[in-house]
């Protein structure tokens, strides 16, 4: 167990089982990265939400790496007596690029709903057990297979797709 892992456990006043955690990295004083795999992510989040009482989810970031997708939940552990917050970046690693799937955290965080849908929109990462995984931000007529934030689409290509879509809509009208 690394020093950062112990320090985070002390701050949260719980024990984080080592088989659920891939790695804990201390970014700076009172700011941690927690890395975990897809099959352990939900259980670990349940511990953080239930036992540690972390209720604030700031946002979720979708990340495309060379060989994998990652999803980063930006949590804030709030200590009300000290008016202090401990940011925790909860990163789900090794999401397969061919078949991107990761557990949804909607049961635990209400706000995960629209942040996850945003990532589904932009990256095409499928959140399992999400009750309403539908388009949030992209236009209704946007082609389903184009996930604009993926690296395979350049700025110029997206411009062309947008213009084609607009042309199509005006012709249909």
């Amino acid at each position: 167990m690394s020093d950062a892992h112990k320090e985070l456990e002390e701050i949260l006043k719980i024990s984080l089982p080592e088989n659920l955690v891939e790695e804990v990295i201390k970014v700076e004083e009172g700011h941690f990265d927690v890395l975990t795999a897809i099959n352990t992510a939900y259980d670990l989040m349940k511990i953080l939400h239930g036992d540690a009482g972390i209720y604030h989810l700031s946002t979720i970031t979708g990340i495309e790496r060379k060989k994998e997708f990652q999803v980063c939940y930006h949590l804030q552990h709030r200590i009300e007596e000290e008016f202090r917050e401990v940011p925790i970046n909860f990163i789900v690693t090794k999401i397969d690029k061919g078949n991107p799937k990761t557990p949804s955290m909607v049961d635990l965080y209400v706000s995960a709903d629209y942040y996850e849908r945003e990532i589904y929109d932009f990256f095409g990462i499928y959140f399992e057990n999400h009750p309403f995984l539908q388009r949030l931000i992209l236009p209704e007529k946007w082609p389903d297979d184009v996930r604009p934030m993926r690296k395979e689409y350049s700025w110029e290509q997206l411009k062309e797709i947008t213009l084609n879509m607009a042309r199509q809509i005006s012709e249909d009208d």
Partner: protein, 417 residues
């Protein structure tokens, strides 16, 4: 209202409306009430709101994607465009991400940090005054709108004096700041700040003692602390509901831990509490501006440290307290001069859920006030004033008339008036 779920869920055909709703009010995407193109769907029964919903995505500009195609240095000037009113705070978070990734965050001088803080606090003041002016307009108290916006010009003049721009000061660069605030500019600002403190104290008196405005705000749209914990609002929306978290206090950045100021929060949870949070914060920010000017007189230091264009591999998340709440940026560098991924979470998105929750069971007449409470942007530019420079005669015309006159003038080749 049956189960606790996020909003953002109405389908295009409205087929998932709550069963006990009788009518559905559609507001937007284009509506004179709001500048931001958002589509609100309000399900009502009689005079009461059953549930409110929203559809977003009408203003996607692809800023995050655009940033991946530009260099870290170019992005410094792209990032303030994320928001029209709180541009400085976006730039501040961005430069702190870049400094940390480039490893120069310890070399930034105190003077540069103070100048950044001056810009941030001035922005908070003008954003809050703008907001409660419009709130007064929504409650039907237009006198207060004009009074507060007249007084807001003082802080706008200060911002213009120190930066050259009214709403986009763009003072910050990775490594420090672009411009200094010399002593004479500070001296010019001091009397204006003192004057503005008196004016804002008067505004507070109006909001707390004037019965007509108080009745529109008190016990309207109450968001309890339990509901706030579930819907995760941030910034003044959360602080009005008893969540005492301000990133300047809870995770200090720049020099906020070395300056005297009080955390403002209220426990009532209604719109009046949110308003008072903002007014009190304006007063706090104004006294901070004076402290910053005092400290600037004695603090010297390098304004700008060199940051290399190529940024080593790494990732960093940081936040700042924008006027509307928590502004979160997450930057990932890959060793080149361009970002691998850059995520921006502006505060308003996190506040929409809580604001729509406030509406359950409220009157239709309170909808504008409640929707305004999380501080969306505003447009009131459908009129224009023309002053004849020879006679000094003033003429106010609306947009249609302006267009008609312009077309006539072009067509018949004659003067505009």
């Amino acid at each position: 209202m049956t189960e606790f779920r996020s909003r953002f869920r109405t389908l295009v055909d409205g087929s998932d409306a709550p069963p006990n709703a009788e009518h559905h009010i559609f507001i937007g995407p284009q509506h004179p009430w709001a500048e931001e193109p958002a589509h609100f769907i309000i399900h009502v029964k009689g005079e009461r709101v059953v549930e409110a919903d929203i559809r977003i995505g009408y203003n996607l500009r692809g800023l995050e994607k655009a940033m991946e195609a530009k260099t870290w240095r170019q992005n410094t000037m792209l990032i303030p465009r994320a928001c029209g009113i709180c541009s400085a705070v976006h730039q501040n978070v961005y430069v702190r991400v870049v400094e940390r990734l480039a490893g120069v965050e310890d070399q930034i001088s105190e003077r540069a940090k103070l100048i950044r803080m001056f810009s941030l606090e001035a922005e908070r003041v003008h954003s809050h005054i703008l907001w409660y002016g419009i709130l007064a307009h929504d409650t039907g108290f237009d006198t207060m709108l004009h009074i507060s916006w007249r007084d807001r010009e003082m802080i706008m003049d200060i911002v213009e004096d120190i930066s050259g721009n009214r709403v986009n000061p763009a003072l910050m660069l990775p490594g420090g700041v672009k411009r200094d605030i010399p002593k004479e500019k500070g001296d010019r600002a001091r009397p204006l700040i003192d004057e503005l403190i008196k004016k804002v104290e008067y505004h507070k008196k109006v909001f707390t003692e004037e019965i007509s405005i108080r009745n529109r705000l008190e016990n309207v749209g109450v968001l309890t602390k339990e509901d706030a914990k579930k819907t995760t609002p941030n910034g003044p929306t959360g602080r009005g509901s008893g969540l005492p978290f301000d990133i300047r206090k809870s995770y200090p950045y720049e020099l906020y831990d070395k300056i005297d100021w009080n955390l403002v929060y209220y426990n009532e949870g209604d719109i009046l509490a949110t308003t008072l949070v903002r007014i009190d914060e304006t007063l706090e920010s104004l006294q901070m501006l004076i402290q910053i000017l005092d400290q600037l007189e004695t603090t010297q230091g390098e304004l700008l440290v060199r940051v290399k264009p190529r940024i080593a591999e790494g990732k960093y998340m940081t936040r700042a307290e924008a006027p509307r709440g928590e502004d979160l940026h997450y930057g990932i560098a890959n060793g080149t001069d361009k970002p691998e991924r850059y995520k921006i979470r502006a505060p308003s998105l996190g506040n929409i859920d809580a604001t729509l929750k406030r509406m359950d069971g409220e009157y239709i007449a309170d909808i504008p006030v409640i929707l305004r409470s999380y501080d969306p942007c505003f447009s009131c530019t459908n009129r224009v004033m023309i002053i004849n420079d020879k006679t000094g005669e003033k003429l106010i015309i609306n947009q249609d008339e302006f267009a008609r006159k312009a077309i006539k003038a072009k067509k018949y080749n004659r003067p505009f008036l």
